[in-house]
Amino acid sequence: MLITQDPFTALESLRREMTNLMGAYAPPFLQRSHGFPAVNLWEDASALYAEAEVPGLSLKDIEVTVEGDQLTVKGHRETLDAREYTYHRRERGTGEFALTLALPVETNPDEVEATLTDGVLRIRLPKAETAKARKIKVTAS
């Protein structure tokens, strides 16, 4: 008897839904989402990649944690002292921010790498061995 949809596929789409809700999801090709920071998430065979645009931030302003299947990016962007500065136009946000993503596959937290360059935060999350795709050899019987 054929099983048309296995339970793992259903879980997978639920995980993606969660990511969408928690990550301030906007349809692709939309310039800006309403959350800060804007995040792109993609994968290849070996790893998940998360990239966030955090212009003006340096290492001390940002904190990245991976716990289970959750990736959290927290930080703050300096707000200028209102006694010295008068805003004529204010399009950039400042203050605290926190972003949590539910990751769709299991990753190896010990091997997660994050770099910050020119205001772009890039996180590489290697997939756990069990989550990697592997070719199944078909033998004739």
Partner: protein, 134 residues
């Protein structure tokens, strides 16, 4: 890792915009404009932009900012699970009034944030007026 850099302002009457050989999307950077005692400051978010790829031009009262940003992924070949932004150039133009001295405009970029300092012209700087008694 990122350094503060001074970008030279070019003042040419015939300005050629930076032309690209392949089509890349161009985005409008978000900007804060802040007034201080002796200058206007402009902060522009341009993640991924580096000093050597940023052009700032002042010509006849128009200040144009353009940053070339190299793509970081290939969108056609990347399997996005979530895509909230695209990567491309930044471009924005502002009118600069008489209150600004264009010869003294300075710019620096750090961590993908462009800061422009636009000093006020002498005539527009605030000053105390002494009151004499007769």
């Amino acid at each position: 890792m990122a350094m503060e850099t001074n970008i030279e302002k070019r003042k040419e009457s015939a300005v050629m915009p930076v032309e690209r050989t392949r089509s890349a999307p161009t985005y409008i950077p978000v900007v804060d404009i802040i007034e201080r005692r002796d200058e206007l400051m402009m902060l522009a978010d341009m993640p991924g932009a580096r000093a050597e790829h940023i052009d700032i031009n002042y010509d006849k009262g128009l200040l144009t900012i353009h940053a070339r940003v190299e793509p970081r992924q290939n969108p056609q070949q990347t399997e996005y699970l979530l895509q909230e932004y695209g990567v491309g150039d930044f471009h924005r133009t502002f009118e600069v009034g008489e209150g600004i001295d264009p010869n003294k405009i300075e710019a620096e970029v750090k961590n993908g944030l462009l800061t422009l300092h636009l000093p006020k012209s002498e005539a527009f700087k605030p000053r105390k007026i002494a009151v004499k008694t007769q």
